[in-house]
C-alpha cells in the first residue's frame, strides 16, 4: 500500500443465502487500487468478479447477498461500515459504475437527460437548468452528436453504442474518483467496443479517474489496464502488472486462462483452448486451492491447504503451492511437467 492507494480491499467475504445453502461467492479477496490507474479483474464466469466490484458500493442484491467480513478502505472510511445514508452520497458521486448491457441499463420510460440530471441534482445543489446544462455538456463529452436535442430523447431512440456512452455520461457526471466498469463492452460490436474503450481512456486522463475494469477480453486488458487481478473460485489467485501477468505469470490457472480467453490483438476463436473441468461448488468450496481439481500440476497439499501469497516481485504476487521451495518445477510451456502426484 502506498499513499497513492485510494481503495484497499482486505479479506472481503461475500455470501448469498439461497435455498440450497450459503453460496460463498467471494472468499477473502485482497485488492488495492491506485489513483488514476486501471485495474483489470479477469477470471472465468462465476469467479466472483461482479460480486467483488458491486460489494465496494454495496450494490449486491440484498437479500440474499451479505458482506460477511472484510474491510474496504476508501480514504478515511471503511465502506463496509459506513451508514446507508453516507453510502447514498458516495455512490454515483465518488464512485461511479457502468454495466455490461447498455440496452437494459437505462430506464426506458425516462429521458436520457433526466437520467443524467437526477444524479447531479441528488449530489449537488444544482437547479434544473444548471443540471440540464451540465447534462448536455456530459453528452457532448462522451461524443453524442446533437446533445441539446438528444438530451430529450428516450433510450430506445439511441443505438447500443450511444446508450453505453450515455451510461458513461451518467457514471462520470459527478466526476467520481473511481469508475467501476463491469464488462462495459461485452455487449457491443467490435468496432463500437474500440470506440467506447478509447472514450473511457480519454475521459480517464481528463478526469483522473481510477478504473476497475472487469473483462473477459485480454485484448481489452492489454489496451486499458496497468495492473491485473486474476480471480478464481471467489479468490484472487494472482495479481501483477500487465506484463507480469501476460509474460511472467506464475499461476497455472492464469496460464489456462491465457489460452482460453480471446485476445482482440492476436488469437482467433478457434485457437482458444478451454480449461477442462468446471469451477468449484461455492456452496461447499474446497478447503485447499480452488483450482486443485482442474490443475494439471496439483499436488497432495493443494487439496488440503490454501497456498499462501508469494511475492514474485514488488508488483507481482501469486498464490500457488508451486512457489513452495519443495515443490517440483512446473512450466506453462512444458506440458510434460504437468504430470504430478495427486
Amino acid at each position: 500500500m502506498t499513499n497513492q492507494t485510494i481503495l484497499q480491499i482486505e479479506g472481503l467475504h461475500v455470501s448469498f443465502q439461497t435455498y440450497n445453502g450459503e453460496v460463498k461467492a467471494v472468499r477473502g479477496v485482497d485488492l488495492h487500487l491506485d489513483k488514476g490507474e486501471t485495474l483489470a479483474i479477469v477470471g472465468e464466469s462465476g469467479s466472483g468478479k461482479s460480486v467483488t466490484a458491486q460489494s465496494i458500493v454495496r450494490l449486491i442484491p440484498s437479500p440474499p447477498g451479505v458482506i460477511k467480513s472484510g474491510t474496504i478502505r476508501f480514504g478515511e472510511r471503511d465502506l463496509t461500515q459506513v451508514p446507508d445514508q453516507e453510502m447514498y452520497k458516495i455512490r454515483g458521486s465518488e464512485i461511479g459504475m457502468i454495466f455490461q448491457d447498455p440496452m437494459t441499463s437505462l430506464n426506458p420510460t425516462m429521458t436520457v437527460g433526466r437520467q443524467i440530471t437526477e444524479g447531479l441534482q441528488w449530489h449537488h445543489d444544482f437547479g434544473k437548468g444548471e443540471a440540464l446544462q451540465k447534462a448536455v455538456e456530459m453528452l457532448r463529452l462522451v461524443g453524442i452528436p446533437n446533445p441539446e436535442r438528444r438530451i430529450h430523447q428516450y433510450p430506445h431512440q439511441y443505438s447500443g453504442g450511444m446508450r453505453q456512452r450515455a451510461m458513461i455520461a451518467i457514471a462520470l457526471a459527478c466526476n467520481p474518483k473511481i469508475l467501476i466498469a463491469d464488462e462495459p463492452t461485452t455487449a457491443l460490436d467490435v468496432t463500437i467496443q474500440a470506440q467506447i474503450l478509447d472514450l473511457m481512456k480519454e475521459l480517464q486522463q481528463k478526469m483522473e479517474t481510477a478504473i476497475i475494469l472487469i473483462t473477459h477480453d485480454l485484448g481489452v486488458v492489454a489496451e486499458m489496464a496497468q495492473r491485473v487481478a486474476v480471480m478464481y473460485g471467489g479468490k484472487v489467485v494472482e495479481t501483477g502488472r500487465v506484463d507480469d501477468i501476460f509474460h511472467r505469470s506464475r499461476h497455472p490457472y492464469t496460464w489456462g486462462l491465457m489460452d482460453s480467453m480471446p485476445r482482440l490483438d492476436q488469437k482467433r476463436e478457434d485457437d482458444l483452448i478451454p480449461i477442462p473441468g468446471s469451477p468449484p461448488d461455492l456452496l461447499d468450496p474446497p478447503r485447499g486451492c480452488p483450482f486443485a481439481d482442474r490443475c494439471p500440476h496439483a499436488m497432495y497439499i493443494c487439496h488440503e491447504e490454501m497456498p499462501a501469497w508469494t511475492e514474485v516481485s514488488d508488483s507481482h504476487q501469486v498464490s500457488c503451492w508451486l512457489e513452495h521451495p519443495d515443490a517440483p518445477a512446473a512450466d506453462r510451456d512444458e506440458p510434460a511437467a504437468r504430470v504430478n502426484i495427486r
Binding site: 446507508d84 454495466f99 430506464n107 420510460t109 437526477e118 430506445h156 451518467i170
Partner: protein
C-alpha cells in the same frame, strides 16, 4: 396523431355498426317475442301492438328502420313500459351504474396497485402470502356469492353498511354504495394485485434499477421515479379488460343489491324480449367499451414512450 384518432373513431363506428347488426340478428333468433309470455291478448290488440313497434314488417325492413332511427340517436321506446323511451331509461340508469362502476374501477386499480406493491416488497413473507391468498379468493369466489355474503355479515349481522338500497342516482350517499362497489371490484382487484406484484418483481430485478441505485439515489427515490412507473405499465394495459369485467359484473351486482342501474333493466329486458331495450343497452355498453379501450390505448402511449401511437412499423 390527429390522423390516428380519426382512424380510431371510424373504426369505432364500424365496430358499433357490426355489434348492433349481430345483436339485432341474434335477438330476433331467440324464440318468442315481447308479447308471447303474457296471457293471450286479443288478436286485434296484438296486431295493433305489432304494428306500433313495426314488428309486423319483414325483418330486413325492421332492421333498416331501426338503423335509421339509431343514426339520429333515437333508440326507440321500451316495449314493456311504453311510457318510457330507451334513451330515458339509459339516462336514468346510467348515472347509477357509472357511479358503481367507477368506484369499483378506482378501488380495483388503486387498492390493487398498492396491494401488489406491498406483496412484491414483502416477497415470500407473511404479508405477501396473505395478500396472495386474498387474490386467489378474489379470482375464484364469484361476486354473486360474495355479494350476498357481504350483505349478510357486513349488512345484516354487524350492521356496518346499509344493504339493498341505493338512494338517489349518481349522487347516492356513499355508505349505500360501499358494499356493491367492493363486491364488484373484487375480481379485478385480485387481477390487478397479482399483475402488479409480478410486474413489480420483474422491474425490481431490472438492470436500470441497479443503475438508479448506482447513482446514489436513496430507495424511496429509486422507487418513485424508476420502479413504480415501469411496474404500472402492464396494469394500464389490463384496464380495458377490467372495464369489461366490471360492466358485465354490474348486471349481477345491481340485481343482488337492487340498484336502479342499467344492468337491472338489461337483465329484465332479455327475459321480456324487450327488443328496443336489449338493442339500446347493448349498443350503449359497446360504445362505452370501445371508447374505454381507445382511452386506455392513449393512456398507454402517454405512460410508455416506446409506444408511438399511429406510427408505422419500424419507426
Amino acid at each position: 396523431m390527429a390522423r390516428y384518432i380519426g382512424q380510431r373513431l371510424i373504426l369505432l363506428l364500424v365496430t358499433l355498426w357490426l355489434i348492433s347488426t349481430v345483436t339485432f340478428v341474434l335477438m330476433h333468433s331467440i324464440p318468442g317475442d315481447p308479447f308471447s309470455s303474457e296471457k293471450k291478448l286479443p288478436e286485434q290488440t296484438l296486431r295493433a301492438l305489432e304494428a306500433k313497434y313495426n314488428l309486423d314488417k319483414p325483418l330486413p325492413q325492421q332492421y333498416v328502420l331501426y338503423m335509421k332511427n339509431l343514426a339520429t340517436g333515437d333508440l326507440g321506446i321500451s316495449i314493456k313500459t311504453p311510457s318510457r323511451s330507451v334513451n330515458e331509461i339509459l339516462s336514468a340508469g346510467f348515472p347509477v351504474s357509472a357511479r358503481l362502476g367507477l368506484q369499483a374501477i378506482v378501488i380495483a386499480s388503486f387498492a390493487g396497485v398498492i396491494m401488489g406493491m406491498i406483496a412484491a416488497i414483502r416477497q415470500n413473507r407473511p404479508t405477501d402470502y396473505i395478500l396472495m391468498v386474498v387474490a386467489v379468493l378474489g379470482l375464484s369466489v364469484p361476486n354473486f356469492v360474495l355479494g350476498p355474503l357481504m350483505q349478510k355479515y357486513l349488512g345484516l349481522e354487524w350492521e356496518i353498511f346499509p344493504i339493498a338500497s341505493w338512494g338517489d342516482g349518481f349522487g347516492s350517499e356513499f355508505q349505500y354504495t360501499v358494499l356493491p362497489s367492493i363486491a364488484l371490484s373484487f375480481l379485478p382487484l385480485a387481477l390487478v394485485t397479482r399483475l402488479m406484484r409480478s410486474s413489480m418483481l420483474d422491474v425490481l430485478g431490472q438492470d436500470y434499477i441497479r443503475t438508479a441505485r448506482a447513482k446514489g439515489l436513496p430507495p424511496l427515490k429509486v422507487f418513485s421515479r424508476h420502479t413504480l412507473r415501469n411496474a404500472i405499465i402492464p396494469v394500464v394495459t389490463i384496464l380495458g379488460p377490467i372495464t369489461i369485467n366490471i360492466l358485465t359484473g354490474s348486471f349481477v351486482i345491481e340485481k343482488i343489491f337492487s340498484i336502479p342501474g342499467i344492468g337491472k333493466y338489461f337483465v329484465d329486458s332479455i327475459s321480456n324480449r324487450d327488443y328496443s331495450v336489449i338493442m339500446g343497452v347493448t349498443i350503449f355498453y359497446s360504445a362505452l367499451l370501445v371508447m374505454m379501450n381507445f382511452v386506455v390505448d392513449l393512456l398507454y402511449g402517454l405512460i410508455d414512450p416506446r409506444i408511438k401511437l399511429g406510427a408505422k412499423e419500424g419507426n
